[in-house]
Amino acid sequence: MSLISSLIHPTEAEQHATQRPRYEVEETDLAFGLTVFLPGVAKSGLEITDDGGELHIKGRRAPGIPEAAPALHRESSDAPYELVFSHDSTVDTGKIVAELKDGVLRLSVPKAESAKPRKIAIN
């Protein structure tokens, strides 16, 4: 196998690999906003779990082309997307809101009450 084709066609072991999607994180006083770019992922292929301080996002890409059609040229990868954010107890994972539209996942992760800025009254 030549150098070029080994780069383009993954080996057996590489087929189980995942790819890290592009993402952006914003922070406001009340919440963190995560934007994750997941082209080719439908709602049914998306899995978001929170496991003891780690927020896992996994997305399987839906095949969009008839399987019998051979690729002439590839720039994207079929590998599933995987992204893990670790967090401490300053976010309220029970109130995460997620929306997937046109291959873009937007997550709103509210901060825990204790982490929100408080105005302190002065006597």
Binding site: R22, P39, A69, L72, R74, G103
Partner: protein, 149 residues
């Protein structure tokens, strides 16, 4: 919603041919350049504009072009046939310190010669634009019946 407009511009599109000419005719050096080019520019350019990944497939009936354009509304995508190549342009609104601004992406994809340019269809789903280009009837393999005397 219609993505495909047939145009006959006098000059070739202003968008540079990203793949450096016809597929399959790339030399080793071009392939290496292309590999490094895509690895370095790749998807990271999305919020700044520029290129986006494109895949090309072909079966006996159709050629398929798949372009990754997450977060782009279908209205903001245009695809057109330009002298036998497929030109895809899209824009996406991004937040900037000055408010919202549009970033632009474009690719010119060289296509095989046997594409029926007037029967092209396109669909946008899950952030991926799929353009289906039927293969010309005369280019399809024909079965020749042989009679034995």
């Amino acid at each position: 919603m219609r993505y495909i407009q047939l145009t006959n511009p006098e000059t070739r599109s202003l968008v540079p041919a990203a793949l450096g000419g016809r597929l399959g005719e790339m030399g080793l050096e071009d392939q290496i350049d292309w590999l490094f080019g895509t690895a370095l520019s790749g998807f990271a350019g999305l919020s700044r504009g520029g290129q986006f990944p494109v895949d090309l497939y072909q079966d006996k009936d159709n050629t398929y072009v798949r372009a990754e354009l997450p977060g782009v509304t279908p209205d903001a995508i245009s695809a057109e046939m330009v002298n036998g190549s497929l030109s895809i342009q899209a824009s996406r609104k991004v937040k900037s310190p000055e408010g919202e601004e549009n970033v632009w992406f474009s690719r010119l994809v060289s296509l095989p010669d046997d594409v029926q340019a007037d029967k092209v269809t396109a669909a946008y789903e899950n952030g991926i634009l799929t353009v289906t280009l039927p293969v010309k009837e005369e280019a399809k393999p024909k079965k020749i019946s042989i009679t034995v005397n």
